[in-house]
């Protein structure tokens, strides 16, 4: 009788990387549903395109590195990267934008650095920054939320726009963004930034159609959607609370202080928390384990840093939102953070 030889331990707590990544996908659902409600079904096309590109790129890379084609796919991480990137870009961005971004994220950021687990930078965000730098126009073409928009696109119109950059009726995305008065509408964060420079106060700016209840129309609900998903991840112990909390604290505390001193110039913490990619960043992007710090203490520092950089760039930088830049900058600091937060090994204290 021959027995099986195996290394210890002979059991496992049954939570695998693939499964964790699957949970991340589930947790994205509420946010993405809301996003497709407010910005049209384009996001689904973007996700489909991104996932397809990612899977093919991943297979090509593993084959090129002489491993079985499906071996790297098994952990589902490429799919998560693709989805995150697809959610982050404007829903009506032309198809080649997402394809280029995904290819860059998977091939360069992930595999050239040595494959899963070796990458210094968050692949989705590195892809996003590349796109933002290379195609600033396409990457900032966010439609106004459907509730305040003049146009709403059908499935076919959306697909047509993504493929050919015009609706079947010949409108460009630029034109779709125009409001009732014919003025192009921007994202809430954009609006705040530009209006402030034109001398308006925040109170006046909030009167605009882009805002309702707590923050930007549409955006606030999407953020809440991602918040719900993120809480689910924490409840499922897929992520720990350290990074989301650190991120939000790093962003909201300075925002709160600044808001007290300059209520008409500095948006308050709630506006920050529910605008742009805050919640997506806090719960889904900054929590990417590969490029984050490893110890819990390190994670808090890492996340505080991201939050703070987001605050700084949003307040004084040239870009309206800054999650991607902040994450990449913090990624660079990870080795340093890890170095100084490494816990003392048993028996090496005092």
């Amino acid at each position: 009788m021959s027995f099986k030889i195996a290394p210890s331990p002979h059991g496992h707590n049954q939570r695998t990387t693939s499964e964790m990544m699957r949970w991340v996908c589930y947790a994205l659902v509420p946010g993405v549903l809301l996003q497709s409600y407010f910005f049209g079904p384009g996001v689904w096309f973007q996700i489909t395109l991104a996932v397809a590109t990612a899977v093919l790129a991943e297979m090509a890379c593993t084959v090129a590195r002489e491993r079985p084609a499906f071996s790297a796919l098994r952990d589902n991480t490429a799919i998560v990267t693709a989805i995150l990137l697809a959610i982050s870009i404007p829903s009506l961005a032309p198809w080649w934008v997402i394809v280029i971004g995904t290819l860059f994220a998977i091939v360069v950021v992930k595999h050239v650095y040595g494959g899963m687990g070796q990458n210094l930078f968050n692949p989705a965000m590195a892809g996003y920054v590349l796109l933002l730098i290379s195609f600033p126009v396409q990457m900032t073409n966010w439609l106004p939320a459907s509730t305040i928009s003049e146009h709403s696109l059908t499935l076919w119109q959306t697909l047509h726009t993504i493929l050919f950059e015009y609706t079947p009726a010949g409108y460009s995305v630029e034109q779709l963004r125009a409001g009732i008065d014919g003025v192009t509408m921007a994202t809430p964060l954009d609006t705040i930034k530009t209006e402030l420079t034109r001398g308006y106060t925040l109170t006046e700016i909030y009167q605009g159609p882009e805002f309702s209840y707590f923050a930007g129309a549409g955006w606030q609900w999407i953020n809440l959607g991602f918040l719900v998903g993120g809480l689910l991840l924490i409840q499922q112990r897929i992520i720990s609370w350290h990074i989301p909390l650190g991120f939000l604290a790093g962003l909201c505390l300075p925002a709160f202080i600044a808001h007290i001193f300059a209520p008409d110039l500095m948006p308050g913490p709630i506006v920050h928390a529910l605008s742009g990619a805050t919640m997506l960043g806090a719960f889904f992007i900054a929590t990417d384990p590969v490029s984050a710090a490893t110890s819990n203490r390190g994670r808090v520092i890492f996340a505080l840093l991201i939050g703070f950089i987001v605050f700084v760039i949003r307040s004084w930088g040239g870009y309206p939102d800054a999650v991607a830049f902040a994450v990449l900058l913090a990624n660079m600091c990870v080795p340093l953070i890890d170095r100084y937060t490494r816990p003392v090994v048993y028996g090496h204290g005092d």
């Binding site: 021959s2 030889i5 920054v129 040239g318 870009y319 830049f325 900058l329 660079m332």
Partner: protein, 193 residues
């Protein structure tokens, strides 16, 4: 604008890290042994002469003077890699003109056949053979480097080179070998009644 900011920030960060690294490299540099000693440290000290030099130290000297690093079969790939690291050159495959990498062996003298000629004693580079003229000789197993040099001189061919058997405490946790270990050793049970 903030693009420039980002690029500049990245650049500055990279620069700072670079400076720190450079500084650390200078500050924490360790004073090292003379190169020949370091090379000799790496060589396996089998003293077999397969490299073409009379022992490891002469070969270490030769490497320091520019000879190839791939001439030592007992050291094999691992030694070549270490030498390459030390000398700052590319590792190359073992030069098979000098022999091939082999499992570790020790010499065993079939003592009943030994005629006590002392030839092997004279050949052994590490004095691992005990015995006197006309008396049976034996190998001090843990001193033997497995260099093979005593086999040739023996006039009655009573020296065998046998592979060193792994022991539980020297086993390298290679689970693939377990099945073999068991198979190779399941001797049928002798019953003595």
């Amino acid at each position: 604008m903030s693009l420039f900011g980002a690029v500049i920030a990245l650049g500055v960060l990279a620069l700072i890290f670079g400076v720190i690294l450079g500084f650390a490299a200078v500050k924490f540099r360790v004073e090292s042994d003379p190169i020949v000693d370091q090379i000799d440290e790496i060589l396996p000290q089998t003293q077999c002469g397969q490299c073409g030099y009379p022992g490891c130290r002469p070969y270490a000297q030769a490497i320091a003077d520019g000879d190839d690093i791939n001439k030592c079969p007992p050291g094999g790939e691992a030694t070549i890699k270490q030498l390459a690291d030390l000398m700052g050159v590319e590792p190359k495959p073992l030069d098979d003109a000098h022999g091939e990498e082999d499992v570790k062996k020790v010499a065993i003298i079939r003592e009943d056949e030994c005629i006590g000629c002392t030839k092997c004693i004279q050949a052994c580079p590490v004095d691992a053979i005990l015995g006197a003229a006309k008396q049976m000789h034996t190998v001090i197993e843990h001193e033997c480097t497995g260099c093979d040099l005593c086999v040739e001189p023996c006039p009655v061919d009573c020296i065998d080179m046998v592979a060193v058997k792994p022991k539980p405490e020297t086993w390298q946790w290679d689970l693939d070998t377990v099945k073999e270990n068991i198979k190779a050793n399941s001797i049928p049970v002798k019953v003595v009644e």
